[in-house]
Symmetry: C2
Subunit: 154 residues, 2 copies
DNA sequence: ATAATAAAAGATATAGATGTCTTTTATTAT
DNA sequence: ATAATAAAAGACATCTATATCTTTTATTAT
């Protein structure tokens, strides 16, 4: 009678979103002075599977979270405005806004009139998460990344 | 050029865990006076697919979170001790403890020495979630469920 | 113009989470 | 003992997230 189950992921964000956040931090810090950075370097810099990350960045590019140019000396970068956007924009682009608005116990709607048992507690936690993501901008960690006191690699 | 992607789940807990929490609340409140409650009634009471819920309850039963007896008048119930256990035990049994200890950005280890950019913010939020789940017991909502002022159904 | 580069797009593959079905085992009532 | 009941167990199915591969398109340098 076995009973192995492992349990791979289960964090607050999807893996896709984790890679997305790590990559925008990486791109922001690498191209703060105006250059571009290629997919290979990004993938290495954040320990992510390159082809998967490519898909994610394509999506972020379509949604205007990152910019890109093809060809020699091409790569990904972010303009001044994008650098100032809150991290919440990235999360919402990838994982949607269920984390900010959905019921923590999976009820179809989170509402005051038909609340689940944990409604009030969840509302508080959701708000804290949302607030944190709204008050953190993409460029906020450029300096710390340069100093090497924080990490984006597994 | 389509661009539909839907995005089904993405909450804090897995669907399995959502069903698990809703079902322990339901069983606790239904059997507070000593009876038992069958899988059909539980599934209806929390709007979950019955066979899937059966699997989940089997697992919770093996792990000692719920008790059960087979045969006529059988069903699921919880003993006095279990009723007092914190909700965190249920979450940990189903989703593991990654939510409480893992890195929010997906780094292999969450650590002070090699922190991700959001480490301090995440630690704070994780602790709040953990604290909430540790200070909430399975039986805490029996009265409110009897009064019908909170809901477990979609 | 041509060749080289690098991202975009599309098709395909794999694994894990979610959901279902069938058979077996334990318990109870007759 | 037998039949009825209800959960346990095991096998199977499906769908979504995750990951990979190949071809196309845009850009740059020669
Ligand atoms: S109803 Fe569940 S969090 Fe609001
Ligand atoms: S290192 Fe990321 S949360 Fe601690």
């Amino acid at each position: 009678m076995h009973m192995i189950s492992l349990l791979l992921h289960m964090g607050i964000f999807s893996k896709t979103c984790e890679y997305a956040i790590r990559s925008v931090f990486f791109i922001a810090h690498k191209t703060a002075d105006g250059g571009r950075v290629g997919i290979k370097e990004i993938a290495k810099g954040i320990s992510s599977p390159e082809p998967f990350l490519a898909k994610i960045l394509q999506d972020l590019s379509r949604r205007g979270i990152v910019q890109s140019v093809k060809g020699p000396n091409g790569g990904f970068f972010m303009d001044k405005n994008t650098l100032k956007r809150p991290l919440a924009d990235v999360v919402e682009a990838v994982d949607g806004n269920n984390l900010f608005t959905g019921c923590g116990l999976g009820l179809e709607y989170c509402s005051e009139s038909n609340p689940c048992p944990l409604h009030h507690e969840f509302k508080d936690i959701r708000n804290k998460i949302h607030h944190m993501l709204l008050t953190t901008s993409i460029e906020d960690f450029n300096d710390d990344l340069n100093l090497g006191i924080i990490s984006l690699k597994k």
